[in-house]
């Protein structure tokens, strides 16, 4: 095993910041606090720049200036994906958000919120109706008698698990008697599912540590 330290100052900075964050494992300390605050500042700045160039400029400013500059006919002749002067509406709604800095006009920002909430509430409602509700119900339907006994047993366990867990989410009655038994079975299925989720997740978490250690070992210290 040989060691070959990196000569790139950037790698040294990255390694130092990594170690600052890891120092939290020992306890909260000034190095961690430094990294924490730097991280919050840089990440917020990064998102700001990203939104500015990739949405505000690319999707708003560019099409708007070209439409108002008369680049392709009437600025109002909108069609799918090309909204021309109509883009002034989201621009106005976006600017209204800044009314929050003026307490007397802060209520104006509700207009922007109203549109955003309306769009996403509507989109999500149907998205979940199709993708999570209908599709999941459909996916749960399977034959309960098959040629292979292993498949049949699994199908029964699956169906019982699904139905009892749904019963667990039933709010209109006290969970007593038969309902109580079913809801208890549902609880057991939930617990097995959570355990499996925990066990499965370990891999993901360890992976991240492996990634960081590989960086420290190979990229920074140059261990071969």
């Amino acid at each position: 095993m040989s060691v070959y330290l990196s000569h790139d100052p950037g790698v040294w900075i990255a390694a130092a910041l990594t170690l600052f964050i890891f120092s939290f494992l020992y306890k909260d300390n000034p190095l961690y606090k430094f990294a924490e605050h730097l991280f919050v500042g840089v990440s917020a700045g990064y998102y700001l720049v990203l939104s500015f160039w990739s949405v505000l400029v690319a999707n708003l400013w560019d099409p708007l200036t070209s439409a108002l500059g008369g680049a392709h006919g009437s600025p109002l002749a909108a069609r799918l994906g090309d909204y021309r002067a109509f883009l002034l509406i989201p621009a106005l709604l976006g600017l209204l958000l800044f009314s929050r800095f003026l307490p007397r006009l802060a209520w104006l920002s509700r207009w922007s919120l109203a549109v955003i909430i309306g769009v996403y509430a509507g989109l999500k409602t149907t998205g979940f109706a199709q993708g999570d509700f209908v599709a999941q119900v459909q996916g749960s339907i399977q034959p309960l008698w098959t040629a292979s006994w292993a498949t049949t047993v699994s199908a029964w366990i699956f169906t019982v698990g699904l139905l009892t867990t749904l019963v667990f989410f039933y709010f209109s009655r006290e969970h007593k008697g038969a309902l109580g038994v079913a809801s208890r079975a549902g609880m057991y299925f939930l617990m097995v599912s959570f355990g499996a989720g925990y066990g499965y997740t370990v891999m993901s978490r360890i992976s991240l540590l492996i990634g960081r250690l590989q960086f420290l070992l190979h990229t920074w210290l140059g261990v071969r």
């Binding site: 998102y47 990739s54 949405v55 996916g139 499965y200 891999m203 360890i206 492996i210």
Partner: protein, 275 residues
């Protein structure tokens, strides 16, 4: 004070230390435990292997550096398999922290495979808006991504000549860490535009993908580093994921041991407090 008693009062920093060492040591001295590809991994590999050469494949790479150790090997191996099959690859990024990282990987693999940027593959870069962007892409991809990652007009790129929307693609590969990701593609795109999807996800999200796998909404699935390593195995490579699996094995055993020891210790303490 008994050993179990002392264990019950154990400072969690000792656990941190052991975890760190168990991961570090096999990275320095590998054990090379064997790998067997699971059926969803094989299905993922086969779905790509059955795309006719020359057709377009859409790769949505939605992860940030945090998910890199798990998803980067998947993206690399996937791009390699696609380019070796002479597929035309279009990469998009909908996850905020990802564009730069993905661009580096794409260029790196393209260079290694001798693929020509703009002719064999393109990286359209990032667009904010989550599902809304997914739906917009169903109308028109060149309108949604007028410029690629490096600012070139996508209409001038040969690889984009036949690309209109999802129907221009034979397969959608979603390599995703969270939201927006595979789940949203299944909901918004698979439901509306009927394009076959395969996915590579972190080990965390993998269990929630099983319903989609079972219902046929996903054609194949890579889950976490193990999925990536098994996929590398199918491609006869020994990449970063395969190398990390030894550390995984030891750490998994340790966490399992923690559950057992934690309970033994707690029980001992409870008994002593009773007595």
């Amino acid at each position: 004070m008994s050993a179990l008693d002392r264990l019950a009062r154990l400072d969690r920093r000792w656990i941190f230390l052991v975890t760190g060492l168990l991961v570090l040591i096999p990275l320095l001295w590998p054990l090379n435990l064997p790998l067997t590809p699971a059926p969803p991994v094989r299905a993922y590999h086969d779905a790509i292997a059955s795309v006719p050469p020359g057709s377009h494949v859409l790769v949505s790479a939605d992860f940030d550096p945090a998910a890199r150790p798990e998803l980067e090997p998947m993206l690399r191996t996937t791009l390699r398999q696609l380019l070796q099959r002479r597929c035309k690859v279009v990469v998009v990024v909908l996850y905020q922290g990802g564009p730069l990282l993905v661009d580096q990987i794409v260029r790196d693999v393209a260079a290694a495979q001798g693929a020509v940027y703009g002719r064999d593959l393109v990286n359209l870069g990032f667009k904010a808006g989550n599902e809304a962007v997914m739906v917009l892409m169903g109308q028109s991809i060149p309108n949604t991504f007028p410029r690629d990652q490096s600012g070139a007009d996508v209409r001038t790129l040969p690889v984009m000549r036949d690309v209109r929307n999802y129907s221009s693609f034979r397969l959608l590969v979603s390599i995703a860490t969270g939201y927006p990701g595979t789940k949203e593609y299944v909901q918004q795109v698979q439901g509306r535009f009927h394009i076959p999807i395969v996915a590579g996800v972190t080990a965390v999200t993998a269990p929630t993908m099983y319903p989609y796998l079972q219902s046929g909404q996903l054609r194949g699935l890579l889950g976490g580093m193990a999925g990536a390593a098994e996929y590398e195995r199918l491609m006869n490579e020994r990449g970063a994921a395969s190398r990390g699996m030894d550390a995984q094995s030891l750490a998994h055993v340790f966490v399992a041991l923690c559950i057992v020891l934690g309970n033994l210790a707690q029980r001992a303490r409870a008994r002593r407090e009773e007595g």
